[in-house]
Structure formats: C-alpha cells, structure tokens
C-alpha cells in the first residue's frame, strides 16, 4: 500500500481517537460555560478523577472494564453534585476572576490529594484481553482498543445529541443556554437544571478520563497539563455550543496528531499557532455567538 496513504489513515485513526476523548471530556465544560457562565478550570479534575477511579477499580479490585467506567462516571457525577451545590453555586453571580481562582484552588487541592493517594507515577491501564491486540479490517489492522474507543464514543455522542435534541431535559438546557431569563420566566427551574447539567458534564468527563487513560496518561498533573487542550476545544468550538466543540475536537485531535507525527521537531507548536490564528479570525470560535 502507498506509504503516504497508509500514514494518512494512521493519522486519521489515532487523531480521531484523541478527538473523541477530547470531546467527551470537554463538552461538559462548554455547556457549563454557556449555561452558567462559569469559568470552570477544574473541569479536568473530574476527568482525572474518572481516570483514577477506573484504573484503580480495574487494577486493584479486578472490576471488569465496563463496570469500572460506569462506576467512575457515577461516582464523579455524584461528587460533582456535592461540589456544585455547596461551592460552585455560591459563585454563580461572582466575577470571572473569583471563579478562576476558586477553580484553580480546586485543581491544586486535587493534585495534592491524588499525589498523596496514588503517588507521582502515571497509572497503568490493564485492558481486558478482548480489547487488547489488533483488529483486522481486511485492508489493514488497527489497535483493537482504539477502534473500540472510537466506536463507543460515537455511540455516546449520538445518544447525547439525541438526548439534547429530543428530550424535555435537553430542550430546557437549550432554552436556558439561549436565554436564561426567558427560560426562568417560562417556569424552568434553572437551579435544578444547572445541577443536573453539571453532574452530566462531570460524569461525561470522568468517562472520557477513564476511556482515554491510554491517550491522556492519568497522573497527578493531569488537570493542569491538559487544561489548555480542553480550553482550546471549547474556545474554538464556541462557548455554550454542543456541536461546535465536536468539530473543534476533531480538527485539533487530527491536526495535532498529524503534526506530531509528520514534523516531530515543531509538532507541538503548530497546534497553538493554528488555534491563535483561528481565534484572531473568529474571536468567538467557530460556532460561538459574537
């Protein structure tokens, strides 16, 4: 097979896997930003917690992969409800600076706690036998786990979009993102809506953290190190948008993979320069309202 073609397929495949993880983690951040105007820099903490809980449940307690993921997502969603009700909610009306400082404080604390419990080394992901190895698609083979990752993520995303599109809850979220006052005057309980959305976003982030543990390594600095990726996805996609971050994640995931693969020397810069250029052209992102 043509070498160039083969490389392109490879880049596309791994880029897509990376993009899925980025999107599943970041979509909650976009909605929180659009719905509550809350600059939640600690969003990555929920993904990190998901990653730690998933790997620990599997590696230490032998919980099957699927159950470990669900357990992590539910546990993190519940934890996020507590945080939202008791801490975040106090800062909904506050300035952006307060929100940023508060969430950075949370990151610092989370980093310390995680380091205290799990130590400084990255967590290993012991995949079940069925998901390790390669899968043969006839024309070439791909790593089984990443194939599974892309497939399951796409299913999740379709379910999420249908949910936002079709359910009553989804309609309320869309209405509130669009115009919060209007939604309130229509009798939507925005406080409850915030809590539910926040929990959903955090749970998804935890799922993304667990699913993506072999792409974004689970280690104490996780919430700092990948923050800029999550923020890029949200800013490029457009704050508050649900589909925008998907397009942004695919663009970022694939191009980042491509540049790191093709020009490893400067690969890491290109993505930043591209994002800066893109935001100069469209400061509100691809799908954001100006």
């Amino acid at each position: 097979m043509d070498v160039f073609f083969s490389a392109s397929i490879s880049i596309l495949f791994h880029g897509l896997a990376f993009a899925m993880v980025l999107y599943i983690i970041s979509v909650g951040l976009s909605v929180t930003m659009g719905l509550m105007g809350f600059a939640n820099l600690a969003h990555g903490v929920f993904a990190m917690a998901g990653g730690y809980l998933t790997t620990t449940a599997m590696n230490t307690y032998g919980v099957p992969f699927g159950f470990a993921l669900v357990f992590a997502a539910v546990a993190v969603a519940l934890l996020s409800v507590v945080l939202e009700r008791f801490l975040y909610a106090r800062l909904y009306g506050a300035g952006e600076l307060e929100q940023v400082l508060f969430t950075i404080g949370l990151i610092f604390m989370a980093v310390a706690v995680v380091r205290y419990i799990w130590g400084p080394l990255p967590q290993r992901m012991l995949l079940p036998a069925a998901l390790s190895g390669q899968i043969d698609f006839g024309f070439r083979s791909f790593p089984t786990y990443r194939t599974f990752l892309i497939a399951i993520s796409l299913v999740l995303i379709v379910v999420l979009w249908l949910g936002i599109e079709r359910t009553n809850f989804g309609a309320q979220v869309r209405a509130a993102v669009d115009n919060r006052r209007m939604a309130e005057s229509l009798g939507i309980n925005t406080g409850r809506l915030f809590t539910l959305t926040f929990a959903l976003g955090s749970g998804l982030a935890a799922l993304g953290g667990g699913l993506g543990a072999d792409i974004l390594a689970i280690h104490p600095a996780y919430a700092f190190e990948y923050l800029v990726y999550f923020l890029m996805v949200v800013a490029v996609g457009g704050l508050g948008s649900i589909r925008g971050p998907f397009v942004a994640a695919v663009l970022l995931g694939v191009s980042d993979t491509a540049f790191k693969y093709l020009v490893p020397e400067v690969g890491a810069f290109v993505i930043y320069i591209a994002v800066i250029g893109l935001l100069l052209w469209r400061p509100a992102g691809l799908f954001g309202r100006a």
Partner: protein, 337 residues
C-alpha cells in the same frame, strides 16, 4: 426624594470633594512601611539575604501582574511567559554579549516588552475564557520553544555558567547575597515609584474604568484596546525585569521560569496580598515566599493542598486578601468608639 440636600453629617462639605480627589495620590506615611522593612531586613537577617532577594524579585513580578490583573482586570495565567522571556534574554545576553548587569536588565525588559506587545495584540482581541486559554497557549508555546531551541537556551539543562560582572564596575555579586539584595531592592524601589505614578495617573484611572465597565469606557471615547495593549506591554517589561533580576542574582536560568506553576503562584501571591492596591504584591509575595521556605520543603505535596485550600477560602471569605482583611479590621476599630 432625591433632591433633598443631605445633612452635613453624612457627606463631606462640597468644596473639599475636589480637594480630596486632587490629593488622592499624595504619599501616606504607611506607604513607606515596606521600605523600612526592606532596609531593616538587610541588617536584621543577614543570613536570609538570598531568600530576601528572591522575595523582592517576586514582589516586582507581582506588581507587574497587579497592573494588568488588579487594575485593568485582564485575567491571565500566562504571566510566567513574560517573566521567563526576560530571564532567558538576560541569561543569553550575559553568556554571549556581556556580563554587565544594567544593560542586561534593559535587554530583559525590552525582550519581554516585545513579546508582551505582540501577544497582547493577539489576546486582547478576545475576553473571558478564550483570553485565559490564549495566555496559557502562548506560555506553553514559549516554553516549548525554549525546550526545543537547546542550542541557545540549553534546553532542559538550562543556561549554565552565567558570570555577572560588577554593578557599575564596583559592586561584585558576593556569596552572601548582599549585593544581590541591594541590587534587587534598588530596582524594585524604582519600579515602585514608576508603578505608583502609573496607577495614580489618568492612564491608571482609565484602566480601573475599563475593569469596572468597559462598555462605558467605549462610550466616553476611550480607545480601550490601545490602553490595554499599552498596559500589557508595560507589565510585560516589568515582568521581564523581574526575570532578568532572577537570572542575575541566581546566575542560572531553567525551564521552570516559564512554567504554568509559576504563573499560578504569582497570581496566588497577588491574591493573597490583595489585588488592585499595589501593596498587595509586597504583602502577598513576602508571606507566600516565607511560608513556602518554612513549609514546602518538608512536604511539597501538602503545601499545594494548603495553597489550594487557601485560594478557595480567600475567594469565599476574604476577596480583598490580607490587606483587605486589614482594611476591614481597621474600619471595625474606628467605628467602635
């Protein structure tokens, strides 16, 4: 009724309103307190002078941040990029051109100023989370650049073998850190004079206006973006100066000067002291650095936990930082009698 004249007790006599505002920039005795401490520390704690100059440098760095964060309200997590550019510029200049310190400081400030001006043009077109992300992206970009350009920056090993000449050809950097301390203190003093003038100038007032209500500033004819880019550039130059001082006093530059943690720490120092009041930088940097020196070495993991908790508590209960608490306490005391 809003047209009722307030009784004389609840408002100052009218002609003094102008007087009071015209005098608002006059030096109050309390403003000299930090300088008494800076001079006193030199004699009282001679064995702590190396830590002392680190504190002075962080105060300078925090003042530079206060100009944009506290006064103009630009929320950045990328201020270490400018500090780092200054540090590297000073280091490269000392290694390849001359070890003369004063010209090195100028080089550090100008290099950081150029980076600040260009990045300011970019990031100040946006706001909110996007602006914050861009400050991070630019910091990562510059850190990656320093990491990859090993032939000039020393990469992960950092810049080693920097040898500084005597200041004015007179004062050698001694092993006790005396010269370094005095050098840092004098630079900080000059920066303080400048920053104090700046925040009390019409320009400084207009920054406060932009922070308080940018829509109104547009509507009174302020060229908002020009003001912001200007202050961002000035702040970058001061941050670069701080970075240059660090290079000169430690004679080493490593990648950590560009790290996200450093950006985070300087924000925390400023918040801890109190933002938008110039002196928060002094209090916050000193308290943070001394606490870190005492506590962090024993248990760095715990240290970050307490810093995080402190930040959360400040946001929840003491938004003015330490100086804000002092203000509140003074008001309580004055109200009592």
């Amino acid at each position: 009724m809003i047209f009722k004249r307030p009784s004389s007790s609840d408002s100052a006599p009218s002609d003094s309103a102008v007087e009071q505002m015209v005098r608002s920039h006059r030096l109050r005795p309390l403003e000299l307190l930090p300088w008494i401490v800076v001079v006193g520390a030199y004699f009282v704690f001679p064995e702590y002078l190396p830590l002392g100059s680190q504190i002075l440098i962080m105060i300078l760095f925090a003042i530079s941040l206060d100009l944009i964060l506290g006064y103009a309200g630009i929320i950045t997590l990328g201020h270490s990029a400018l500090f780092g550019v200054g540090a590297y510029a000073a280091g490269i200049y000392a290694l390849h051109v001359t070890g003369e310190p004063l010209s090195g400081l100028v080089v550090a400030a100008v290099a950081a100023g150029i980076v600040g001006f260009v990045s300011g043009l970019v990031i100040l077109r946006t706001h909110g989370l996007t602006l914050l992300m861009l400050t991070l992206a630019i910091t990562f970009l510059i850190a990656e650049l320093a990491n990859k350009a090993g032939f000039i920056t020393g990469g992960a090993d950092g810049l080693q073998g920097i040898a500084m000449q005597e200041i004015f050809g007179q004062f050698r950097f001694d092993m006790f850190g005396r010269t370094a301390y005095v050098y840092s203190a004098v630079v900080l003093f000059l920066v303080w004079l400048f920053a104090r003038l700046l925040v009390h100038s019409p320009f400084g007032r207009s920054l406060t206006g932009i922070r308080e209500n940018v829509t109104r500033m547009h509507a009174i004819g302020t060229p908002v973006r020009k003001r912001l880019v200007t202050v961002y550039t000035i702040s970058a130059m001061l941050a670069g100066l701080a970075g240059g001082l660090l290079t000169h006093t430690t004679q080493f530059v490593g990648l950590s000067v560009l790290s996200f943690e450093r950006s985070g720490e300087i924000v925390i120092m400023l918040i801890l002291g109190g933002i938008g009041r110039l002196y928060g930088a002094f209090v916050g940097a000193a308290v943070y650095m001394i606490a870190q020196d005492e506590l962090a070495k024993a248990d760095p993991v715990f240290w970050y936990f307490w810093i995080g908790l402190l930040l959360v508590l400040i946001v929840m209960f003491a938004r003015g930082g330490i100086l804000g608490l002092v203000d509140q306490a003074l008001r309580l005391v004055r109200r009592k009698p």
